[in-house]
Symmetry: D2
Subunit: 344 residues, 4 copies
């Protein structure tokens, strides 16, 4: 039976991508789309690519408008989801694309976000250890941070298998500016990004760091989890290419290392480990719900190098949300999602 859906933040990038995927999903009916300052305008004015949703008009983002749907997606700036939680108590399923319900540690929340801490919800990355089980039958789901889930998926198999040392992780990510949202900031202007690579949040300040740490601890990390994390904006609208490295654990063989990743994802449709010597490009996952992982063991550097490509708006956000929804609703997990990217 078709589920009725409401999407808030429908004028933004994350909201738009949720709608693009839902429009191709056979088991949902997009009944309501909401926005803040653009309420009253046609959706298509803000999402001109969503031709099949030309009939929809943006309504105001209020608990009343969002109420009465089988599934509610919140695609709001940080700190705004929380205020809807109480009001949406009767909603059968709420999926938050924001950060408010991702962290389990109030201290980590305080250190990286601040403001009111909200209870953690089921974390929307089914391929992490224990991830899928937590989503079965879930009624409240936190979609992941795009950079966080990319790095967590990159390293969790090695952590779980004990073949890497999580105390000295280094991750550097090439990311497209759509991850920053439709925000009017000078550093996100096209003239600033075109032809340039622009680092930001250098030196341990990025808010996705505690989210990675939490995921790797959940994956079985023992001892400290320390992460040097540097994102770099590059001139592509979408995509994350994460290069994540960690020291090789003592005494493990190359085969043990590769096995850790291959076995962890052997049955996963949306997380695929490439053959030895192959590494992914972000174009290969554009528009797809796929994380592609390439793995190298660099004995000279004593590090495992994991290169992972993800579409930040799909597997990083909207696809993760819908994959999680499918699990929560008992639908086939891949419903409405594709593994094939749009390339070139």
């Amino acid at each position: 039976m078709t589920s009725s859906v409401a999407v808030s933040g429908a004028s933004g990038y994350a909201g738009g991508e949720i709608l693009r995927l839902l429009a191709a999903h056979p088991e949902v009916e997009i009944r309501t789309v909401t926005a803040h300052s653009s309420a009253g305008e046609p959706l298509i004015a803000h999402q001109p690519h969503l031709r099949s949703l030309r009939h929809l008009t943006l309504q105001p983002t209020t608990p009343e408008v969002l109420a009465g749907h089988d599934v509610v997606f919140l695609a709001l700036p940080h700190g705004q989801s929380g205020q809807y939680t109480d009001a949406l108590q009767d909603a059968p399923l709420v999926i938050d694309a924001g950060a408010d319900h991702r962290l389990t540690s109030p201290d980590a929340w305080d250190a990286f976000y601040g403001g009111t801490f909200h209870e953690p919800w089921a974390y929307g990355v089914p391929e992490l250890p224990g991830g899928r089980a937590a989503l079965v039958g879930a009624t409240r789901i936190a979609a992941p941070g795009c950079n966080a889930s990319t790095v967590s998926l990159s390293l969790a198999p090695g952590v779980a298998a004990g073949v890497i040392d999580s105390s000295d992780i280094v991750a550097v990510l090439a990311v497209g500016p759509s991850g920053a949202g439709k925000s009017l900031k000078t550093n996100l202007l096209a003239a600033e990004i075109l032809g340039s690579a622009n680092p930001y949040a250098v030196g341990g300040t990025h808010r996705h760091i505690p989210e990675i740490r939490q995921a790797l601890v959940a994956a079985g990390a023992t001892g400290d989890v320390r992460i040097s994390f540097t994102p770099v904006l590059v001139p592509m609208a979408r995509g994350i290419l994460a290069t994540s490295t960690a020291p090789i654990a003592n005494g493990v063989t190359d085969a043990q290392i590769r096995d850790a990743w291959e076995q962890a994802y052997a049955d996963e449709p949306f997380v695929q480990v490439l053959p030895e010597g192959h590494f992914p490009r972000t174009a290969d996952v554009l528009g797809a719900n796929t994380a592609l992982i390439g793995l190298a063991v660099d004995r000279a550097a004593n590090r495992v190098v994991v290169v992972t490509a993800v579409d930040n708006l799909v597997k990083g956000t909207a696809g993760a949300a819908i994959q999680s929804m499918n699990i929560a609703l008992g639908l086939p997990e891949a419903t409405g999602l594709t593994v094939n990217g749009v390339a070139p």
Copy 2:
């Protein structure tokens, strides 16, 4: 007195950039340009942006054609410079933009390049410890590898001051495809690069690794120098943004760390350390001979993070070559070079 100059490989990207800079250099006369398969064609057919050099015709790259100039630039595929060395014995100054004369270790050459080892020449990065002294009066100069010099400049001050541990360096670079030269390879086609981040030479195979190691040893590294090195092609024609990290040495303070870099480059016009909290973009050095360095001390990760922006064709190659030429010839070091980038 004006020096007469010949540039081989003049139809390629490195050769073209050497010519662009020489065209603005008041102390040289570009007398001869050579190429291989394009000999006989006008230079402008291959370098349509060099409007002031419309009168030049490409001649064949032979020792005879290159002989008789005050300065000869070799901008040839690696492995080809060596064959000209003997033939150019009488040339007062030869500057090689290729790799043939960069490495001092035959073992490193064998491991990463193979083929005939050639004697090392003065290394064209004056800002490295001892670098400038070696260039004064030099008659044979090896311009650096663009990625190598970027990472070496990033970390040498910390190595020299003993504030970082060089045994576990991780460097990830966003690089533009001009660094790969004007090569007809499928993975360098525009449709493959546009909208995508593409890793290559993952896992310790890149040929610039021994060059970095050599530079850091020369800078005073004690014990092992180990480098995890991952370059990522991103959709910008030029530029390198290198994120280089190394563990903080025991017992050093944040101020000691920052001092190491600020003092090392205090008097350098072309290597500039940005104030705390600031990090460079590649657009800021487009067309300039400048390396811009941003520095963070991440105590939670126990790593120093150095983000450096360079134009691979200028400070990474042609600018380094000409800056070195200026030193060798006794000219003011900045002659014909600019610190200002072309942005946005």
Copy 3:
């Protein structure tokens, strides 16, 4: 009942896009993929984004391999399709993505292509006047040239309604380099295209000109059809933004002009006319089988201006081919195709 399909030229851009769309098509089975020099290699080595087709191996492009399928797609360089025509006489449906069967005039073929003229097949643009009827039950279909069909769709309604003068058409197109195919040419290298706009085939030499003329004559053009046609490569992997203008016919009103386009495409799912004052972007049709048309009447210039956005690989090539296949096979026309673009 599912149709078995073979795709030749499967290692290229057009072939890859046909496969991407077929992989999402519920009524076909991709049985055979072929290539020339890459025969024997896995498809995924050349199309790493087609994750669902990892099991396929490229076979040689021979009549024997292509025989025995319900539908054969030819995605070969110009001039190569013709040689398969005879050999594939028994194939129920052959769809050629190349130019060999597009033109009805041997003279036009000689003037713009040369070599053996082949008989014209049903032209794969159903939204042109008479286009759909010709495709019903067709057994041989010529998919359109991407630039040609974009301009033809832009202007056909005005020509058919007699509201524009086809004797002085000017079309300038911003096009992505994937339209040029996976060809190893210097001018298609990423370093040449990034940050630059590059014209080509200026001054009336582009091979799509006779194809446009043919389509507009078929649409009812009386008198001369003259077209100034200039394509410009711009730094986006995919997409065509065509600005097509023609003089306003004498005595027609603005409303008559707008009506011509709105009525022509009123019932078309894949060709949509935007409201007055709105114009499309290529990002809005990325990956979609949609042509979006914006229309302005510029009385000061006495010209109708039509701006049309198309994904060259979808509505311009592979989507047109599959839409045409659907019609020929009696399937719902939109099967396996989407109207929604992947944006941002």
Copy 4:
């Protein structure tokens, strides 16, 4: 003798480019830089690429601050320059990069801009007929609109020689977003521009249209000057590639047409006509003060096609301003300017 200079609007793109060029100009001293909301901040915070100007601090844009310099550059949003005119009466030379003093016709001003009309100043495109003479000794100069001067330079020779018909001009321009300034608008965000071609001001509304018309009338156009003008934003930070076409005048030969352009620009260093069959790319003029023109005569379409590449911020704005300044001050016209682009 060195001239003292003040630059207002120094935090923006046009102001930044004026400063970049002035920093390389041997006959000026940049004494004062001003901005509006950023007054008090270091220039380098807004122009991080201008490394040689690190010592400068932004002052408020007031007549008092701007007074007392030999040359004042105004790089302000249009409509703001006018208010400084009276206050700067004593300034020996004022150069306005805005639109306020470009148009000679109050009616055209009203139709396209509105608000107070200001007296026209000497127009800063020396290569147009009569252009250089008007600038000799000028004390008030209006730098051109970047799109306008590109199209005017493209067509003026043909108009002046009577070999084209100016009553039915069509110009379509691929333009980089830096031309729109550092404005916080959603449609200028990187995620909106990357991978997309975006038309704007379609249908005769662009403000540069009357400026082109004025220039072509000044060049000798007889009868109507009608221009269909469509700019398209494409994903490159800088650059204009203008495709301008006009009907061939009756009875002229191909040689007469080509002669018109070649003779008009035979002695111009900064406007160069390429040989027959060659057309320019914007990368070839990046950072240069050069307009490159390619010309085709398309007899089948009965149109002359002129493709011109310009860097919108240099020859389109800042370079034109400084070239004009050089003329006004009696300096060699090319002082501080380069003809060579930064490519690839």
